[in-house]
Amino acid sequence: MKAKIQIARHAELPLNEDKANFFLQISTAISVFLFSIALAAYFMTSSMISSWNKNIVDGLTVQIMPPAETLSEEEELLRTNKVISFFEGLDGVLKVRKVSNEQIQHLMAPWLGKNADIESLPMPKLLDVRLKDGKTFDFEKASDSLKEFAPYASIDNHGLWLKKLIKSAGSLKILSLFVLALVLGATVFSLFYAVETSLKVHQNIVEILHVMGATDSYIAKQYAIRALKVGFVSSLIGIGLGFLALFVISHLSSGLETGLIGAASLNRFHWIFLFSLPIWCALLSMGMSFFGVKQVLRKMM
């Protein structure tokens, strides 16, 4: 038990006194801060996109305008059925359903009051069309051919609108991925640079250890242990700042359009992953240092 603790303590290289150490701590903390925010942004945009895709886009609404002059019930029915059969004949449509008058009344209640007589008003009829997959459904083409087939009916264009929204959220997602890759690359680079600098500073000690018969791994292990500690502590600081920033952002935006941002919540998996960042970071910097040292030593001497 005691011997084990001592092995870790008996490092010949005085790495804790390195000037590069402080630089490494700061840069790791900043990297993890940026990484946690970019990662949260990635998670949020992903869940936003998937929730929009799931809830809204797999359906569309069709409005059938009331005729200019009064028609018989049969004629009206014919008019509606023509539109229904149009959609039923379309590729990618799962089901077409008339929205009942009660439902319309319910929807219109805020404007017309609960007891409005829908029948006597010139209300458009509504169809609810369920799609197999809104993501692949071509809204524009359907809208165009409907215009020719039955000019009195139109697709409620929220599908089109959402697709545009999803597109821009998608580019936000790609941007956050890009930032993640950038931060990761910068971290790996600065770790490698710190290792190289430190080995040059301690070249004399490294040479002595080599003559005593130390393998590259023996030397790399001392760096790895140090990197594990520095990586963990610094990334705790980084992620602390990251959470603070996320908290402030979510508070500021909580008053805004809840419908859109509400979908941008993080699930349990996301939180676990964010919270475990210090562990990943510590492991990454440990592994990077270990292999970095071996790489540099092979080139250096």
């Binding site: 005691k2 011997a3 001592q6 092995i7 008996h10 010949e12 005085p14 004399n204 000690i205 040479e207 002595i208 250890l209 080599h210 003559v211 005593m212 018969g213 130390a214 393998t215 590259d216 791994s217 023996y218 092979r298």
Partner: protein
């Protein structure tokens, strides 16, 4: 078992047609041959700048020859992997002319380095290091940081570090240059004892007294060449 037999019959160090040069400077040693049998004892002599330290660094595998082959323990070091080289170095004890201690560590920790590299447990290390340090009369300075030690104390730490792991080859560069006569003869006794236990020893020295007192052959470096001067016959 077979390899063991080989080691007994093969020379422990075999240097053939070797040249040593630093960068584009003229050669320090030119086309030298040297074979050391297991259990031999040699002094290494020659004027300052003759290449004693260079020859020793080649034998402890810190310097690559610019030409020729070097075999140590039957392994051609020109083709050995990095880890194999480390394995060979663990079997060689080195005393540097300028000590090359880890100045920021204590005398104890310096002597412990070869054992820690070997992966020995701390209890065993403690026993061995304390014993050896008190033998070289450094028990009181054991916990002192090396940069605060005197020249003679540093030299003894360096020697203790070189022999702690009972090396098969001991290469010592001016190991008695900084200590008084009493300690010098005590250290020489240590080398002689190790040699009796089977360690192959090479000691670089300028000291005529030392060479005269101990009846061992010399590896003499002169004019970029090497010759063996047999042991002086004592009357």
């Amino acid at each position: 078992m077979e390899t063991r037999k080989n080691i007994l019959t093969e020379p422990i160090v075999d240097i053939q047609n070797v040249c040593i040069r630093y960068g584009k400077d003229p050669e320090v040693l030119s086309d030298i041959k040297l074979t050391l049998e297991k259990g031999s004892f040699h002094f290494l002599t020659g004027k300052s700048g003759a290449g004693k330290t260079s020859l020793l660094s080649m034998m402890y595998l810190a310097l690559k020859p610019s030409r020729g082959t070097v075999m140590v323990f039957g392994t051609n070091v020109g083709y050995a992997s990095r880890d194999a080289m480390a394995g060979l170095r663990r079997r060689i004890g080195v005393v540097f002319q300028d000590f090359r201690l880890l100045e920021h560590l204590s005398a104890y920790d310096n002597v412990a380095v070869p054992l820690r590299i070997k992966g020995m447990g701390e209890n065993e290390i403690k026993k061995r290091v304390k014993e050896l340090l008190s033998w070289v009369e450094l028990d009181k300075s054991m916990d002192k940081i090396c940069s605060t030690l005197s020249g003679g104390e540093k030299q003894r730490v360096a020697i203790a570090r070189a022999v702690i792991n009972r090396p098969e080859i001991l290469l010592a560069d001016e190991p008695t240059g900084n200590v008084d006569n009493d300690i010098a003869s005590k250290l020489m006794k240590l080398f002689v004892e190790l040699n009796k236990l089977g360690t192959t020893v090479v000691i670089a020295t300028h000291s005529k007294d030392l060479i005269a007192e101990y009846n061992y052959p010399q590896i003499h470096l002169e004019n970029k060449g090497l010759k063996i001067i047999p042991a002086l016959r004592r009357i």
